[in-house]
Amino acid sequence: MNFENIRTVCTTVLYMVSSVLFIRGIKLLGKADTARKGNLMSSVGMLIAVVTVLFEKDVTKTVTKNGPINNAYVWGVAAIALGSIIGAIWAKKVEMTGMPQLVALFNGFGGLSSLLVALTQYMTAENINTFSAIALGLTVAIGAIAFTGSVVAWGKLSGKMFKKNVTIPAKNAINGLLAVVGLVGVAIYALSIAGAVDASVGTIGIIIVTAAYLILGFTMVVAIGGGDMPVIISLLNAFSGLAAAFAGLSISNSVLVVSGCLVGTSGLILTLIMCKAMNRTLYALLFSSFGATKKGAAGEQKEPKSMSVEDAYLILEAASSVVFIPGYGMAVAQAQHAVKELCDKLEANGAEVNFAIHPVAGRMPGHMNVLLAEANVPYEQLKTADEMNPQMSNTDVAIVIGANDVVNPSAINDESSPLYGMPIINAFEARTVFVLKRGKGTGFSGVENPLFTNDNTVMIYGDAKNTVAQLVSEFEE
């Protein structure tokens, strides 16, 4: 065995080790008590992979071939240092509520990076055969869609851009066309590599696919409602994994293929799991433009009863069991710390307090868990819908804080409702239901909520944080 052979064996084995760490890492990430260890494990895998590539022939060769400045280590270390600083700062600074959009943005960077890798490889045009040309073209396509799609998702979630759902006429036709045109671009490029057409025509192919899929990412995501963004981010995450996998096929790197594909398919499954929790189909989410027809449910409407904070306090003081049902409004109002205080007061007052957490309350999966964790609510107080619903009828007061769709009883008893079939938290079964919200705003789905006009429901209007803070101070008096 000569030196090059030994090098190949060593790098492949190291890539194998890092792939195994990714596999174990993802597995452990899926269980609550090992998740952190899993994340650590996969980061070690990443470190090994990065160190390994630094010993690959292509990289070491630049030291002897190029000058002291133009070698890959200088460029690589500089780029990694820059990227690490930016990434670390962002990760440290982000607020918990800003997580989803940051994940979207990171994901976009990953997609763009794969796109650039493919373009770099295209420009240097080394080691390209028909097969790797196809892989390269697909990397461009998927990387591009992941990039613009993620940026739009980020804009929507952070409220900075594209907030309004743009309705694109004949959306599916346009998107379909873009997808096909881009693939034609890939084919043209592959043909140019195969020698069937001229190299300059190949360049046009690459430009076509880049442009088409950059636009496609935009048009696809911009028409989807902000509340569906978590699912879309998960889908785009799968895409950026696939882009990495295709990049791996194109440069013939096994660790890219394995880990990219792992991310691709596990992301896809996660997307489907999320869809299911929201009673959506991925198909409908991507291809139908709902949201428009939903709003006008109505019929004659009773006026909901409302109550002052003082009166609510009197009821709360007498309650021996209280359930909080938080939703998106709690996140908007940043009320989680106030809620934790109120929870402490109630417990000091002798009441049993629980939180009923709906899987899709808020705007990202586990949103409520993250927020309440931040506010130090102990884990065992966070109950699932399945755990709490049977006890709901023995609950004195259910406090709905900025939740709406997840407590909408028409999901159970109104077949015509767009929410019908979604599992909900049966707040309506509690003896008294407090609903804390600012006004008559509907929830994410835009559907009216009959809970609000039930006899046992009282509204306490106002910003959730204020209302809860006032309740706390009533207890303090």
């Binding site: 998740a35 962002w90 989803p100 420009m123 791996g248 013939s252 792992l262 130090n376």
Partner: protein, 102 residues
């Protein structure tokens, strides 16, 4: 690259795909977001591709490809470092509760 090798890479791709499906079977909903961000960090593996593509680019003329490569490394690094740190922060909060419990 030999045909045999390419085909084996595709084989690896297919099997890794099935493995990915199996790994995420029953995940509790509060882990969806950390899982998403954790796998997102893994998709930054493209950094490995970026480094080797940049190295190849540096051996050829043309500043554009060098810069493209450089940018690819930077972006992938942001994805990797940011992704792992954010995930760890998120999970750290769950962890704290776990420890409080004991």
């Amino acid at each position: 690259m030999a045909t045999g090798e390419i085909l084996l890479l595709v084989f690896v791709f297919v099997i890794a795909g099935f493995l990915g499906v199996e790994l995420i079977s029953k995940v509790p909903s509060q882990l969806h977001t950390p899982l998403m961000s954790g796998t997102n960090a893994i998709s930054g593996i493209t950094i490995v591709g970026a480094i080797s593509a940049t190295a190849v680019a540096l051996q050829t003329d043309g500043m554009l490809s060098n810069i493209c490569g450089f940018a690819a490394i930077v972006l992938a690094t942001i994805n990797v470092i940011g992704g792992y740190l954010v995930t760890d922060r998120m999970l750290g909060m769950f962890k704290k509760k776990g420890e409080d419990k004991k």
